[in-house]
Symmetry: C2
Subunit: 223 residues, 2 copies
């Protein structure tokens, strides 16, 4: 377990009981009497709370629905695997030879599980504050810009993917009007599919009006 020193340095936390870190790194394929599934269960809840609280405090105005969307964008396998890579966790995972030959050390799910398990292990041994410090630091490294537009609300892209797959067409956005003084202009955008207007919206910028129009169109198409 000598080599775990590097991981602990990277993590910024030295375990008192190195066995718990070892358990967090042990994939079930090893068929050992212990593996990281229980710690992952705990770490998953730890991360939900830490990221939820982070968003709650960072965005003290946004509605619950948007907080949930933001958290879903940050708390998922892909995102945890990024953080695992940041810590080079792949190098330290204990796994079976078969899983190893199967590219296990690079697998998103294995990396994500091990990351959650390590966070669970730090939580158990050092408490919420320590694990929060580590996890938020990694979160901000992996996501330097956390905001709704960036992470969630790209309705235009979402809509285009759907209309191309379902109808083979791309939405067209037409500026149908603008109003108000220069410093507070409002733009009106119509969204057309195959020449037919699907939705219309206004916004403080063309991009904003387009996003809103795309959002309305998405809701209509879902029905």
């Amino acid at each position: 377990m000598k080599k775990l020193e590097n991981l602990q340095k990277q993590l910024g936390y030295e375990f008192k009981n190195i066995k718990i870190l070892n358990e967090a790194l042990t994939h079930k394929s090893t068929k050992m009497p212990y593996n990281n599934e229980r710690l992952e269960f705990l770490g998953d809840a730890v991360m939900d709370l830490i990221v939820g609280e982070y968003l709650f405090k960072k965005f003290n105005k946004i509605a619950e629905g948007d907080m949930s969307k933001l958290r879903a964008a940050l708390v998922n396998e892909k995102s945890f695997a990024m953080m695992a890579k940041e810590l080079k966790i792949g190098e330290y995972i204990n796994l079976s030879l078969a899983e190893e030959n199967n590219g296990g050390r690079e697998k998103i799910s294995l990396l994500s599980d091990a990351y959650e398990a390590i966070m669970g292990a730090v939580y158990l041994e050092a408490g919420l504050e320590k694990v929060r410090e580590i996890a938020i630091n990694l979160l901000e490294i992996c996501y330097p810009k956390i905001d709704l537009t960036n992470l969630v609300k790209d309705y235009k892209t979402a809509l285009q993917e759907i209309t191309q797959a379902d109808f083979g067409v791309t939405p067209v956005y037409e500026l149908t009007g603008s109003s108000g003084p220069d410093h507070k202009k409002e733009f009106e955008i119509a969204l057309l599919l195959n020449g037919k207007e699907i939705s219309r919206a206004t916004g403080g910028s063309k991009k904003e009006a387009q996003q809103t129009a795309a959002k309305i169109a998405l809701e209509k198409l879902k029905k």
Copy 2:
């Protein structure tokens, strides 16, 4: 807000900032500039962690899958509404007249949301340890016997519901054998559906063997 004193006594926690408790009790139907949805978002994650950790420590042997099932049995609307009733939260919720006339104070969803929001509020103001103390105390009042067989593993009932809905038949359990000395007897049970054997299992009691046989049958039927 005078009357909130009773709720705080019941809770065993006095808020420094009573506004946050008031927010936790405010349903969105009031159309106030604030409501309890954000605190509920936070409280939901708090409860997941608290109950998850409780199960992790109480059952240090059971597998992750069973811990998840146990948690799902304890962390849900119905369960939170029970705890809300224990605290008489219904009396303190702020809601619109329409919602009030609609039986809002007794609604499972409203009670559950307010309970989660209050746990979120205690967490924000007093931290994880205080909210854990309150929540686990209530959990143990509402669920005096927390174990897998009690809360989760009624495979016989689950199987019967499925076979009756899908095939219009009820499973039959037949004792096909028993072995071992009296103080350590093993029973073998065959599970029949329409006279055809679906599964067979052994256990330390007939009930246990029946449950295992039902579990195997459930897995087979899912495929």
